[in-house]
């Protein structure tokens, strides 16, 4: 019984939140990694691209709610997602046409593109705040819980409750679908294959007749879809606030780099590694250990390695360790 209680407490505060957070990070990191692999620069505007996509989803959700369209127990935001993806695609294509293409034609060095992407980041950031404001926006609706802590306790008779939010369930399901689609696209379709070829060896790809502008366009479209999905899921599960997406940039980059920049599989693994480290290192283990340890060994302190204030420091430290010992990342990406 104690073992079950410990497991439930652990699931409630560590496993479930970390899996949901990891999926959101993985989707974000996939976008960063694709840009790095194919366009060959670190896109600092990614966090704010997510915010822009999520913002359109919020606006579309409000509109759908106002005309009375909904999905019943599921959040209306899922219906708004395709609209948001289209809007975000438009944004990235416009920025590519106006900004990045110029530098691509000049064969600018990656470091210049990084700085350029920072400029795009600030503009997008301002745009989002201009449209929706800097405050929290709530756009989640539908059933809040798949299972609430109170119901779980009644059902099982355990002392500990387990709550799974609908948004957490949706996050995982949508993330799995998105990743499956992405891998199918990259591995099975002609365009996907040409993207991989372009990523592996640009010159060889050009010689074999691949149109680079087409590859770039498809990359942006996929990245916009991934970024919007990640942004909407994060906003649904937590809350939508423009500044938060800017802060997310650090864990997202950490995920992509830990997994190996340019390697999609690595981005997913990196997302979960970062999420689980952040949550487990800042979790106070007292409750779980009290259930597991014999009475004489019960901890009197909180058994918390780091205060939750230092959550972001965890991604920093992992990033540093990986860069020191395995600069290409765990899954053999490109060296940074």
């Amino acid at each position: 019984m104690d073992f079950l209680n410990a497991f439930v407490a652990l699931s409630n505060f560590v496993l479930v939140p970390a899996i949901a957070y990891g999926s959101q990070l993985a989707l974000g990191a996939l976008g960063v990694t694709l840009i790095y692999g194919i366009l060959r620069f670190s896109n600092f505007a990614h966090g704010d691209t997510m915010a822009f996509g999520a913002m359109i989803a919020v606006l579309a959700t409000w509109w759908l709610q106002s005309i009375g369209v909904g999905l019943g127990p599921l959040p209306t935001a899922l219906l708004a997602l395709p609209i948001a993806i289209l809007g975000c695609m438009l944004l990235v294509l416009i920025t590519d046409r106006l900004v990045y293409r110029f530098y691509r034609e000049q064969k600018a060095k990656p470091v210049i593109l990084v700085i350029v992407s920072m400029g795009v980041m600030f503009i997008t950031n301002g745009l989002v705040r201009f449209v929706i404001g800097p405050d929290d926006q709530n756009f989640a609706d539908g059933e809040r819980f798949l299972i609430s802590a109170r119901d779980f306790k009644e059902m099982t008779g355990l002392e500990e409750g387990l709550a799974i939010k609908t948004t957490q369930g949706i996050t995982v399901v949508v993330a799995v679908i998105a990743v499956a689609l992405l891998f199918w696209f990259l591995n099975k379709t002609r365009t996907g294959k040409s993207m991989r070829a372009y990523s592996d060896n640009e010159d060889l790809a050009l010689l074999s007749g691949i149109n680079p502008e087409r590859v770039v366009m498809y990359t942006w479209l996929i990245v916009a879809a991934l970024a919007t999905t990640a942004g909407v899921l994060y906003g649904l599960d937590k809350s939508f606030k423009p500044f938060v997406y800017f802060q997310l940039l650090l864990p997202i980059f950490a995920s992509a780099i830990v997994g190996g920049l340019g390697n999609p599989l690595g981005a997913i693994a990196g997302g979960f590694i970062i999420a689980f480290s952040e949550v487990t290192i800042t979790y106070a283990w007292k409750k779980v250990l009290t259930y597991l340890a014999p009475e004489t060994l019960e901890p009197s302190g909180l058994v918390q390695l780091l205060s939750t204030d230092y959550k972001f420091a965890v991604s920093f430290v992992i990033l540093l360790i990986v860069l020191l010992f395995k600069p290409t990342g765990l899954f053999k990406g490109k060296a940074v």
């Binding site: 505060f13 802590a149 599960d237 909180l302």
Partner: protein
């Protein structure tokens, strides 16, 4: 610039022409800076009391009271000190109504008020540190110290039978000060604080913070935060994960947003915020009569602060701070006839005839300890998704 010059010249002329029995009170508030939206009403409140006294013609045999405004900036101790120095040495004020923010109030007190021996009554400085400041009996405040709320909180929780709580606070001076004073009071009264953890405002997700709070456990979660900031995020995450069912909310958490965000999910939770059921509030609003916003924070406290200075002068029969500083506590507390806003003339007459007054004013003033307001709190309980008054204390 021209206007300013004329104004300065006019003030100087007036200062020159002032007769000996005229009383001048400095009003030093942050007319620029972070609370500049509050200070105009506060100054109006103080000047309303001065006008009332002047109109009565009873203070010290018909003295007129004039107000001299100065800018404390709320945050810049140097500028505030210079402004106060000017009030005392060049305008020669007989007392200071102010300052507003705790930091500049402490600076003015130690640099200007104490060296020059001027009485200072602050309407809004709440830092517990000012309670033990070296003041030679010159400093008073009509706002309660934050330490007081910690004690009130302890009383409320113990009466509810809560012996063990988890505590989280917003990571700034307000949150930290309140959390520390609460923890001290609660532990002194035999309660247990299982964890005292800070939270940052403006984050999207508080599940990690709540995880730590839940691991520490406790019968109730005390959230010393802001309702439109991280405080609500903590409560949301705690309810969602089933970590805590009931909460205790200090003043920063109590607002209509609380009902809006959580409704009956937090039924049974308790809290307290400054408030009084004294008839003084209504009377104050009556005499203000829409001239300015009477419900703006610390406006009634400002009226009371100015009134106390003048009543103390009348009781001492002198406008010399060294004489009337002893009388401030006397006029503010029992025994005596209760005085509400708009009755300053009556109070002046009683004091003139050698009687006693107990100034209640707009905020039910009761000065305790080192001359600070005991503070009146409204204890609330969430019932059926609504904030309801349990009682006043």
């Amino acid at each position: 610039m021209k206007k300013l010059l004329t104004a300065t010249a006019a003030t100087a002329l007036m200062a020159g022409a002032a007769m000996a029995e005229d009383v001048k009170i400095g009003v030093i508030l942050g007319f620029t800076g972070p609370i500049e939206s509050l200070t105009p009403s506060m100054a109006d409140g103080a000047e309303l009391a001065m006008k009332e006294v002047t109109d009565s013609g009873l203070l010290l045999d018909g003295a007129t009271v004039t107000s001299v405004r100065a800018d404390s900036t709320c945050v810049d101790a140097g500028a505030a000190t210079a402004a106060a120095e000017r009030l005392v040495t060049s305008d020669k004020v007989d007392g200071i109504m102010g300052a507003d923010c705790s930091g500049v109030t402490g600076a003015i007190l130690s640099n200007v008020a104490v060296p020059n021996g001027v009485v200072m009554i602050s309407p809004s400085a709440t830092s517990p540190a000012l309670s033990d400041a070296e003041d030679n009996g010159l400093f008073f405040r009509t706002a309660p110290s934050d330490a007081r709320q910690g004690e009130i909180m302890t009383q409320v929780l113990l009466e509810e039978g809560i012996k063990s709580v988890a505590l989280t606070y917003t990571n700034n001076d307000y949150g930290k000060g309140l959390a520390d004073s609460f923890q001290q009071a609660f532990e002194a009264a035999g309660g247990e604080v299982t964890i005292s953890a800070a939270h940052e405002d403006g984050k999207a997700d508080y599940s990690a913070e709540v995880g730590a709070l839940a691991a520490a456990g406790g019968d109730r979660l005390v959230v010393a935060g802001y309702v439109d900031q991280g405080g609500s995020g903590i409560v949301r995450a705690a309810i969602d994960s089933g970590a805590f069912d009931t909460f205790h909310f200090p003043d920063g958490m109590i607002g209509s947003k609380l009902e809006e965000n959580f409704g009956d999910e937090i039924d049974g939770s308790t809290g307290q915020h400054p408030g009084t059921d004294s008839p003084g509030v209504a009377k104050y609003e009556e005499i203000v009569a829409g001239a300015f916003d009477a419900t703006s924070p610390f406006t009634p406290e400002s009226y009371d602060a100015a009134a106390l200075i003048m009543l103390a002068m009348q009781a001492a029969g002198s406008k010399n701070p060294a004489d009337y500083k002893e009388k401030v506590m006397e006029v503010a507390n029992e025994p005596g006839e209760k005085i509400y806003p708009g009755e300053l003339a009556k109070a002046l007459q009683i004091l003139k005839d050698g009687g006693d007054v107990d100034y209640v004013g707009a905020t039910a003033v009761e000065l305790i300890g080192p001359g600070e307001s005991a503070g009146n709190y409204r204890q609330i309980v969430i019932d059926g998704g609504k904030i309801t008054t349990a009682k006043y204390r």
